[in-house]
Symmetry: C2
Subunit: 443 residues, 2 copies
Amino acid sequence: MKRNCLLKLLTEKRYLELKELMSEYNSVDLADLLMELEDQELAMVFRMIDKDKAAEVFAYMDDDQQQALLGSFTNQEVGHILDAMYTDDAVDLLEDMPANVVNRLLDQVSKDTRSDINRLLKYPEDSAGSIMTVEYIDVTPQMTVQQVLDKIRRVGIHSETVYTCYVVEKRKLKGIITAEALMTHDGDLLVEELMEEKYVFIRTTDDREEAANLFRKYGLIAIPVVDQEGYIVGIVTFDDAMDVLTEETTEDIHKMAAISSSEDSYLKTSVFGHARQRIMWLLILMFSATVTGAIITKYENAFTAIPLLVSFIPMLMDTGGNCGSQSSTLIIRGLAVDELHFSDFFTIIWKEFRVALVVGAALAMANGLRIYLVYRNFAMAMVIATSLVVTIVIAKLVGCILPILAKQLHMDPAIMASPLITTIVDTCSIVIYFQIATLVFHL
Amino acid sequence: MKRNCLLKLLTEKRYLELKELMSEYNSVDLADLLMELEDQELAMVFRMIDKDKAAEVFAYMDDDQQQALLGSFTNQEVGHILDAMYTDDAVDLLEDMPANVVNRLLDQVSKDTRSDINRLLKYPEDSAGSIMTVEYIDVTPQMTVQQVLDKIRRVGIHSETVYTCYVVEKRKLKGIITAEALMTHDGDLLVEELMEEKYVFIRTTDDREEAANLFRKYGLIAIPVVDQEGYIVGIVTFDDAMDVLTEETTEDIHKMAAISSSEDSYLKTSVFGHARQRIMWLLILMFSATVTGAIITKYENAFTAIPLLVSFIPMLMDTGGNCGSQSSTLIIRGLAVDELHFSDFFTIIWKEFRVALVVGAALAMANGLRIYLVYRNFAMAMVIATSLVVTIVIAKLVGCILPILAKQLHMDPAIMASPLITTIVDTCSIVIYFQIATLVFHL
């Protein structure tokens, strides 16, 4: 079923067939398809989706379409959708709206939903609290397996995941019991006999990226979230964790290319939006690069005497930049996936130093030989070879030290990436190069 | 429990306490802890872990330690561990070993395990088949819910996930039924009444990254894998998918910084290993950069007449490189997370062109003004401003076009990143700059 087919059914008023077709679709795919419709068509078609499925499809749409749909809904319809959505999805939706709209929308939902949503809206944007959902199944230690299964049967359908139940006593989390344990044990066993008392948990105030990393490390489906007093307040599920990992990685990759982060997708961002995300860093880096230029003017006598010197500037600058960004990229990614730590500081520096010597020697030999063969100028070959080795050593050291220091100072290591490293290394490489050249050629 | 505490219990032969302590540990954490031990201590301590848990802990260790342990095991122990491991973990372990060792190890396992492992070993390394497991629960359409629950109780403990059962008739996959459906419905309902006939699946030959992206898109716990005839041959679980996404992203990030991919972690890779991963690209890029140098020598007359021209080279090169890598990074990441497609080609080019004009104008004004104020040289300010705008437009266009073309030509877009783009843009910016300068200054 493509957009055209769907529109055809709509204009020919073959609503029953349309309903039938849509009911066969997966909610994710249906949301994808509806995204291709104009706002007005969308409002019509959306009303034909089964009530139960509608909230799910709605949750998968993008912000613009959600807003458009909300605008066309009656108050009652708004209430129905928000009540049927998982709290974390509803919170995602409301977070980006002006306060007065949020209040108007919240007026339409049930009291319970309203208080849940209000509570979640208070957590900081990057906290585990902001991605958790309050729909989970809590049981007591004294319940039997059969009683838990009965409870799941009763309320399970409304819970984002039924595959882990949380054993709670006086609001404190005592342990967890998996659906696997429930399904593979006798109905009259007690929960306290089967529950796991060692479990992974997160706090509401934990960073959402750290929370997401726990999913990766332990391969869990859901992780309980507790507040400062140890009371359970919600759970985070693996699908939300996967989204967080993807978003955070994208943010890191963008930062590493000197782009300020943005939540909108590439195509949805306007031209000026894109420009705004990129100009600030470009300006900073451009003016930093003029320092390198200013240094070059000091060696005017050198390169007017031997103009050939100028022609090696791009090669030296690029190689230094590339070497530095190789190191910084390896370290930044290693820190992000929790593979490298501050305690590895000296190990890393020592390793990068030796790698730099090996790489530097190889590049210096290759280029030195080339220059000697092309220009028959042994002194120039030596100047370039020596400059290359020193530049590469400095580039690799700067490239590995800055991200680790940034992490230790609670800054984002991702900004210590290619562009900044390149700018710093450029200055160093130019100074080294002309210093060696003036020495060798007595300029 | 830290390493010291563990070693203390070991040397004081307090084995019971040691066993007790280890049994309280999560398998992931225990594997982490054991990784700090020397090979000999490890072999001793490992034997004290509960039989059931041992295979899990073993699966979480890294390659080196697995090899060391295997070396210290008796044939019987090897057989026990491999039989108890999930097939996909066992395959991961065997994949990196020489064929004769693999054969020796496979001699020790049961016939079923051996044939499962042999089958999985045949799938290409980056295919969905290579990350799937053959432990899943299959049911028939005619079974009742109660019969399925009984089957789960019987075999469930050996299945990597019991939360989705696969409805199979004559080896063909007919549908899926979730544990949630089983737990929330009457025991005498038939599977065929409850099963979902529209389900997401993958083929053994699909790329493992594409398979992993399906988990992200649909938020699934497991996806069935079918062969070319539509027979179900295994499942992929979300935890493996998360690992694949992390690995593939790391590989992309490394490629984007001109580092060849490697499966080993930073710290485990030797100095020469690191050097090998980096030298090839550095050599290619270094020699490409000499082209830019050769072009500069053509303008020797220009910069010996006006030496100031040289001092703007680093700024122009850096800015061009940064602008290009911003664009290429946005596009490469957009392609990787399936947000951008070839069909957006012209939309992207048109957008980048306009962004380049806005960014170019801003940077040209800022730098032009600076140069005018510092050097009181209007002509020079104009040369730099114009060169900046043209360079930025070219950089952004090259930066967005190359990754999309690479993708379309079934190459990895990640290699069209910062280093390569920078080298290409450098050459362009130098030519443009000196061309404009010679025109303006009549050189």
